[in-house]
Subunit: 252 residues, 2 copies
């Protein structure tokens, strides 16, 4: 997927727009998909937010994140009905006009023969001034690329198609390697040596994740670093820590 592997940090924020997620009606799947996509592209997803269908809330979140991260990915709120207001909010956030775009109409009509442009469909063709279109191979109506903000549909299948469409446009970050070690010892028995190890290897991010209801392991330690040799070294030390704690547990 990556076309221009760089040596620098590339970051992202995600914004999910949708009352239906906050009301519990719909369980979000898009954050997990975007998180996996970012990991694959070596883009560091730093933050995700879910906001209601309110123009000011959406615009505030876009403005808070677009100055902070390399990219913003939004999902939801670009359909044909009155509650689809993400395009309005993007125009508001950037302080530009929102007008019906002929290319967007063409894109929709190319997708479906006999596609009369009623009010709802025209609504989906409104693009903020300066915005580019993101192809939608599923249902025609485009996403929007506005500076560093990528506005995508909320329907997972359409969103995934749009992610594929924008991937070649994105800068990729420095490659991050990861390793994981499973432990049959609970986290609290590992915490002291792990904290010391984290201090000794500041460029290797060490995470500890308890697991319940699985026989496979009680704790999983995940290590991440862009330095493969340091990662291997720290991973071996995590294994030693787990071995020592396991031995200690058996003795008790």
């Amino acid at each position: 997927m990556s076309t221009n592997q760089s040596e620098k940090r590339v970051t992202a924020g995600m914004l999910v727009v949708g009352d239906e997620i906050l009301s519990g009606r719909t369980k979000d799947q898009n954050i997990g998909t975007v998180a996996d996509f970012c990991a694959e592209m070596n883009i560091e997803l730093c933050e995700a937010r879910i906001v209601a269908d309110e123009i000011e809330e959406i615009a505030d979140a876009i403005n808070a994140m677009r100055v902070k991260y390399t990219y913003i990915f939004t999902t939801g709120g670009i359909g044909p009905t009155h509650d689809d207001i993400t395009a309005d909010a993007v125009a508001h956030a950037f302080g530009v006009e929102l007008n019906v775009d002929d290319h967007a109409i063409k894109m929709m009509q190319d997708r479906f023969a006999d596609y009369p442009m009623n009010e709802g469909r025209l609504r989906m063709a409104r693009i903020p001034e300066g915005g580019e279109l993101i192809a939608n191979t599923v249902s025609g109506a485009p996403g929007i690329h506005m500076e560093n903000v990528f506005v995508m549909a909320g329907v997972p299948k359409i969103m995934q198609g749009m992610l594929n469409a924008i991937a070649p446009k994105l800068e990729t970050g420095i490659e991050v390697f990861s390793a994981s070690c499973d432990s049959q010892v609970g986290e609290s028995s590992l915490s002291e040596p792990l904290a010391a190890l984290q201090n000794a290897y500041p460029t290797v991010k060490i995470g500890s994740y308890p697991q319940m209801g699985l026989d496979k392991y009680m704790t999983q330690i995940v290590l991440r670093s862009s330095d493969e040799a340091l990662l291997a070294e720290a991973t071996q030390k995590v294994r030693d820590i787990i071995d020592a704690a396991t031995l200690q547990k058996l003795k008790i």
Copy 2:
């Protein structure tokens, strides 16, 4: 669950703390659970954020939301290891000290006989000054209730137990009724009359949700209002709109 049904709006923000969600390693389940919990309690969940394991990021998100909403619910980052820093961030956000709390130790030891307090377990007993404990019937280590902020575990089963523990403490909002209508007509054919209906019924929130890959319906219209009579009236009008659009579609 509700103990003190009120006639006012009760709002909430949610904060998920965890690198593992942003890296894609773990798919969050807690937002959906908290959304359902809030719906049941008539608490309006207005926003959710996911941030990385960084004290400043966590504290900033808590401070941004705790002045804006009635309640903040956080999940994750209260375990025994160095990457569990939510308690530190809460203390930082409130500008108070973080000390080991004897009641927290007792709560953990009450849960498990023979529970030596190693460094990791002591870490889980650190409570920001002024904070109260939230019972953890699963694994002993408490959550934290600090003013309007409820700090809970990230492990779904533990978090759910903590939600049950805090439910009686929470004020519940005005009851919101909902109704839904399924349509075999796409959203864009409904958008114009639905927008007019939304204008005519400003206190009934009308949402339109497209569905893909299901035979059951193409669009689901969801209506929400605290006024049951108005809701019934608007719902009947949505049914009329769907019927007219369906008839129109069959004619074509």
